[in-house]
């Protein structure tokens, strides 16, 4: 049986996000943090979008957070997502502060099973040899 090529969009890392994607490949979630205003932020960029300081570093996230919002996609946005539908797009408020876009997986794609505010935790999906997507699932109780 031949492996089917991954046909959904694959991120193209930029120089300033290479580290983020390298860490994701190692199944770790890392965030940019500003050492001037002391806030973590998403998405990764060298200059802090809050105080515009260049004094920024990387921190490892716990991978825990709460569900900020979600939607259940029934009509696939492109043919590549047809096999996935219905699937859950979501935003997660990470323990460290930032909100990040993701998918909620390992859950029934049913509004009765998904609640805004529910605890979630990161899981990693290797989509190619180079790229791994951080996704989230309901946190183990």
């Amino acid at each position: 049986m031949t492996e089917q090529a991954y046909s959904k969009p694959i991120p193209v890392p930029q120089g300033e996000s290479d580290y983020y994607w390298e860490k994701a490949k190692a199944h770790e979630l890392w965030l940019r943090k500003c050492d001037n205003c002391n806030q973590a932020y998403f998405y990764p960029r060298d200059i802090c979008p809050m105080c515009f300081s260049r004094n920024t570093s990387w921190i490892q996230a716990s991978g825990k957070g709460t569900l900020h919002t979600f939607a259940i996609v029934h009509r696939a946005p492109t043919p590549a997502f047809r096999d996935d539908a219905p699937f859950v797009v979501a935003m997660v408020d990470l323990e460290e502060g930032p909100r990040m876009p993701t998918n909620l997986i390992d859950v029934e794609p049913d509004p009765a099973a998904i609640k805004v505010g529910m605890a979630v935790e990161v899981v990693f999906e290797d989509i190619t040899d180079e790229i791994t997507l951080p996704k989230f699932k309901p946190a183990a109780v």
Binding site: A71, P77, M100, P101, I127
Partner: protein, 380 residues
């Protein structure tokens, strides 16, 4: 800031020759047809145009296609609100002496394009949102609506979305140019298929082929033209994010800033507004924008739109052309709000005419609820 209220007027506006499903016309053709029709409406010719504005395409393309060599050129492209923002930019340019006759054009073939434009992989949204399927506005706006339901109650939000879908269709039934003119019942709304929960099909705008154009000129020049000037009393613009995941507050659009600023510049209050034209990419956009503009408080939108208040015969008419939901929506719909506002103020709307319509507020929203442009328009 200089007081530019009533310093310029909209003197011409029109759609392209055919809108809706138009399989054999290019997007630029819609621009040119609409420009032709809007200049006719104003009693001006192409040779009078010295300022050119568009979004999506660069003005390099629209100017080349129409054979215009503008002295002032502006391709500000911040989504569907762009064309509302162009009115403010035209006002600034005309008052500064950079141009006298500003032509704003739009044309898109969202339904029939033979070569859709691919998104730019260098954008952060492509890197961090697209891989998860945050592709296309129904999905983005649906996540905002879910958050609204969480904060203000799912059942009353659902009812509000239904009220907006049904009332907007009632207006479309009175507009011969609207694509969707069959009656929509509340059951039709609730029974329509899911696109991205919480959005049903009937929460979502159409995807059409269409163009429109608007001509803006100085107060002095406006007085000698074919039709009564529609004055620009106030205008404001801005944005607070790119992709939906960086929106600071999913239940508050930037209309919270542009609405009050445009009203203050106009020197009018919300109770003076005879007609609200509000970009309805989705039912939720109308709901959130009514609150942002301050017509009601946050979370009060469902009470505000209850009982078909925004429908024909209601005391707060909204989107009398039938909106993006039922009239037309080729991709970036904002300019069509202006087309309808101008026609209503001039009293040209026949069966759907709002009686004694003197002052309009128009709010465009662009991107993933990213940008807004508000104008207040009036007729003497």
């Amino acid at each position: 800031m200089a007081d530019l209220s009533k310093s310029v007027a909209i003197v011409g506006t029109a759609e392209s020759d055919e809108i809706g499903l138009v399989p054999n016309k290019s997007a630029l053709q819609h621009h040119a047809e609409a420009a032709h029709n809007a200049l006719d409406d104003a009693g001006l010719t192409k040779d009078d145009v010295d300022g050119l504005f568009t979004a999506g395409f660069s003005t390099l393309a629209t100017a080349d296609y129409m054979g215009i060599q503008p002295k002032f050129t502006d391709s500000t492209s911040i989504g569907g609100s762009s064309f509302i923002v162009h009115i403010a930019h035209a006002m600034a340019a005309i008052n500064a002496g950079y141009c006298e006759v500003a032509l704003i054009t739009h044309g898109q073939t969202g339904r029939s394009s033979r070569a859709p434009m691919p998104p730019d992989p260098n954008l952060p949204t492509l890197q961090y949102e697209f891989p998860y399927g945050f592709i296309g506005q129904p999905i983005n706006y649906a996540m905002a609506a879910t958050r609204y339901m969480h904060e203000y109650g799912e059942d009353r939000t659902r009812q509000a979305l239904a009220e907006i879908a049904v009332s907007t269709r009632k207006w479309a039934m009175l507009n011969p140019k609207a694509m969707m003119r069959d009656e929509m019942t509340f059951d039709d709304y609730h029974d329509s298929r899911w696109i991205a929960w919480p959005f049903h099909l009937l929460d979502c705008c159409l995807v059409t082929d269409a163009g429109a154009a608007v001509v803006v000129t100085s107060a002095e020049r406006a007085k000698s033209l074919k039709k009564k000037p529609v004055w620009v009393l106030g205008a404001a613009e801005g944005h607070d994010h790119l992709g939906i995941s960086t929106m600071p507050d999913l239940t508050s659009t930037y209309s919270r800033e542009t609405g009050p600023k445009a009203l203050a510049m106009a020197g009018v209050t919300r109770s003076d507004i005879d007609l609200a034209m509000i970009y309805d990419s989705f039912t939720y956009t109308t709901l959130a924008t009514l609150e942002g503009l301050g017509f009601c408080g946050r979370g009060e939108g469902p009470d505000f739109v209850a009982g078909q208040r925004t429908a024909p015969g209601g005391d707060f008419p909204v989107n009398t052309n039938g909106g993006g939901l039922s009239y037309t929506h080729p991709g970036m719909y904002g300019i069509f709000l202006i087309v309808e506002a101008v026609r209503q103020l001039r009293g040209e709307c026949g069966d759907r005419q709002v009686p004694d319509c003197k002052i309009n507020l128009t709010n465009g929203t662009g991107g993933a609820l990213s940008s807004t442009g508000t104008v207040v328009l009036a007729i003497d």
